[in-house]
């Protein structure tokens, strides 16, 4: 009886160890696959617009991280919206869930600097949903730094130049009138 229980305990120990080994092997295989294959599907580092535009085939259909300033209008289209995000070289269209754009308060224009955002999403070289456009279908968006209103200042040098030119213009007109008389 005792012997039987010892055998059972040994058996369960062996089973436990083999199960552990299987799990270990599974993780090894998983990590190996992840290590080898993930770079083909996603890029964790921020990628510039120039890199994306010049290597469209390489990044097509992959998850990319892209950051830049939101410019122009946030164009709502039903439950989704279009953002145009400029990284300093080019602007790329971002197709995004409208709710995710709620945090965007400033967009780039003459009078404001837009919010600087980081987008993670699928890069499309020729998006079938959007007429073959090059775009990114965003999955997440993170505001890195908020935008601001740009305070306009008049350049005193330009102001002086305008006054001098006005003087010259008046002088020409006066001389013309005098000559006519």
């Amino acid at each position: 009886m005792r012997y039987k229980s010892q055998v059972t305990s040994h058996k369960s120990q062996v089973q436990f160890k083999s199960k552990k080994l299987k799990i270990f092997c599974f993780y090894i295989v998983l990590f190996t696959f992840a290590f080898l294959l993930l770079p083909y599907f996603c890029y964790a580092q921020t990628i510039s617009s120039s890199e994306l535009i010049n290597n469209t085939r390489q990044y097509d259909g992959k998850i990319v991280v892209y950051e830049g300033e939101v410019i122009g209008d946030v164009m709502a289209r039903g439950r989704q919206a279009w953002l145009n995000v400029h990284d300093g070289n080019n602007a790329i269209g971002i197709w995004i869930d409208k709710d995710l754009t709620a945090d965007i308060l400033y967009t780039g224009s003459y009078k404001s600097r837009g919010d600087w955002v980081e987008i993670s999403g699928i890069f499309q070289r020729a998006c079938a949903q959007h007429g073959g456009d090059l775009d990114i279908h965003a999955q997440t968006i993170r505001k890195i730094s908020p935008g601001r209103i740009v305070q306009e200042k008049l350049n005193p040098g330009k102001l002086r130049l305008a006054l001098i030119l006005l003087g010259i213009l008046c002088l020409i007109l006066i001389l013309t009138l005098l000559r006519r008389k």
């Binding site: 780039g108 079938a128 090059l134 020409i172």
Partner: protein, 500 residues
């Protein structure tokens, strides 16, 4: 023997050049007003300075060169060619003052690109440009499309017999109305009617696309001016890709085609003569060349398999093609994508389309459809002459508003201008290659500049060599004026140096 020009010639040229410059400078009031209305003080000041410089320059010319004599043929041609250069130098001042152009040469490049309705851009950080400056960029396209001198003719000059010379000098050799002034006014009437309709259509599409109303209508008026005048500027750096909208692409495509049609044809359509659309040699040639060049482009894109589905291929391929053929230059691609995605054959299709252009007496550049049609008819005539018996009378006709007999001098003139354009495309391509670009890309960019299109495969940027910028400026200028007034100016300069 070459005769040296007289002081009287120079005075005449200076006086009328001054008049045109004053007319042009008054147009700067519009961005000043817009800037003040939208509380853009800095940009308003930029335009005020530019306005004053231009008025002073124009006044000095009219006072120093005052004359009551009328212009002769040569003087009229020279006034036109110089007026376009003066417009570039003066129109570039507010752009340069904005700080969005790296150098005055870059600002001149964009000003010439605007006036000549080309659409190549060297501006920096376009997305933060003021409304006033952006409006000016598009306004100069609108003025350039109608013809700078035509503006002076229709608004600031009461009328003189030399008007026709200047009208021809701006590459318009067809009178719609009995005289040039009424023709110029009719061109303005057509343009203003379409401006209102086009702005409303684009503004409405913009609002439906989610744009703010002010932006939607501002973009609407700007995009209309650039599309109808086959220019190609847009208020944002992404060009038409900014809007992500099929409706926007469709409306702009219609406007581009309207801009590429002869104003004389517009007149006949307005007068109820709709059959003229089908019978006219230009519309027939335009339809056939669009089909041929699109076939080449589509086959190339199909071979590469870059677009998943025929509809996507059509939407992308046809838009770039029609934009190139009409000489507009609107893009729904990034310039680099022509190189990385499109490859050689589709680019060849677009180059051919750009090189051919739209109708004469329209706002497009390039060889133009009337000449293409005439050359084709002349070719048919020559083949008939070979095939038919020697004693047979070979008569070739073509329909352009009315049915005309094809004369040898008409065919010769069409061939000469075509040859001049081909040489201009080729020379620009050689200069592009001298700076290390490949033949096809250089030819693409050169054709785009000389044919006043504005599509780019990436060569045009602020970092390109100054010599290449100057080359493209000359190409845009000569291409827009269709050579005659440029050749006259060169002849005048040679006569001034070598004449007795």
């Amino acid at each position: 023997m070459i005769l040296r020009p007289h002081l009287e010639d120079i005075k005449n040229i200076g006086y009328y050049l001054g008049k045109v410059i004053i007319g042009l400078s008054l147009a700067m009031f519009l961005p000043v007003i817009l800037g003040l209305a939208l509380k853009e003080k800095g940009p308003s000041l930029d335009f005020l300075i530019s306005l004053q410089i231009s008025v002073i320059f124009g006044l000095l010319l009219t006072k120093l060169c005052f004359t009551e004599k009328d212009l002769n043929w040569m003087q009229g041609m020279i006034v036109v060619s110089l007026a376009w250069l003066a417009a570039m130098f003066l129109g570039a001042i507010p752009l340069y003052l904005s700080g969005h152009w790296k150098s005055y040469l870059d600002a001149c490049f964009d000003a010439m690109s605007g006036f000549s309705t080309t659409g190549l851009v060297l501006a920096q950080d376009l997305d933060h440009l003021s409304f006033a400056h952006n409006f000016w960029r598009h306004l100069i396209m609108f003025m350039g499309g109608q013809g700078i001198v035509i503006i002076a003719l229709s608004f600031f000059v009461k009328g003189f017999s030399g008007a026709f010379t200047m009208y021809v000098g701006e590459a318009r050799d067809e009178k719609i109305m009995p005289n040039v002034i009424s023709t110029a006014r009719f061109i303005w009437l057509v343009s203003i009617v379409y401006l209102i309709l086009g702005t409303l259509a684009l503004g409405a599409v913009g609002i439906l696309n989610g744009m703010r109303p002010l932006n939607a209508f501002f973009h609407g008026i700007c995009v209309f001016m650039a599309a109808f005048d086959t220019g190609g500027f847009t208020p944002q750096s992404q060009n038409i890709l900014y809007y992500h909208s099929l409706a926007y692409e469709a409306v702009t495509a219609v406007i581009m085609i309207l801009g590429a049609i002869n104003f004389k044809l517009h007149y006949h359509i307005w007068m109820g003569n709709r059959r003229e659309i089908i019978r006219n040699i230009e519309t027939a040639a335009l339809f056939i060349t669009i089909m041929i060049t699109f076939f080449i482009t589509a086959v190339g894109l199909q071979q590469l398999g870059i677009y998943p589905g025929a509809m996507l291929l059509f939407r992308k391929g046809f838009y770039q093609l029609i934009s190139g053929h009409t000489g507009t230059g609107y893009q729904t691609l990034y310039p680099a994508q022509f190189v990385t995605d499109w490859g050689n054959l589709p680019m060849v299709g677009v180059i051919l389309a750009m090189a051919l252009g739209g109708a004469v007496c329209s706002t497009t550049g390039a060889i133009k459809m009337l000449r293409v049609g005439i050359i084709f008819k002349a070719l048919i005539q020559d083949i008939k002459r070979i095939i038919l018996p020697e004693r047979a009378m070979v008569v070739q006709k073509f329909h352009h508003i009315k049915t005309l007999f094809l004369e040898d001098k008409v065919a010769r003139s069409a061939l000469l201008i075509t040859l001049a354009y081909l040489v201009l495309y080729g020379l620009g391509a050689i200069v592009g290659m001298l700076f290390g670009n490949s033949f096809l890309y250089s030819l693409f960019e050169s054709t785009s500049a000389a044919a006043n299109v504005g599509l780019s495969c990436g060569i045009t940027n602020a970092a390109m060599p100054a010599a290449l910028k100057v080359t493209y400026i000359i190409q845009m200028w000569a291409g827009r004026l269709e050579f005659m007034s440029v050749f006259t100016l060169l002849g005048f300069l040679v006569a001034a140096i070598k004449g007795k």
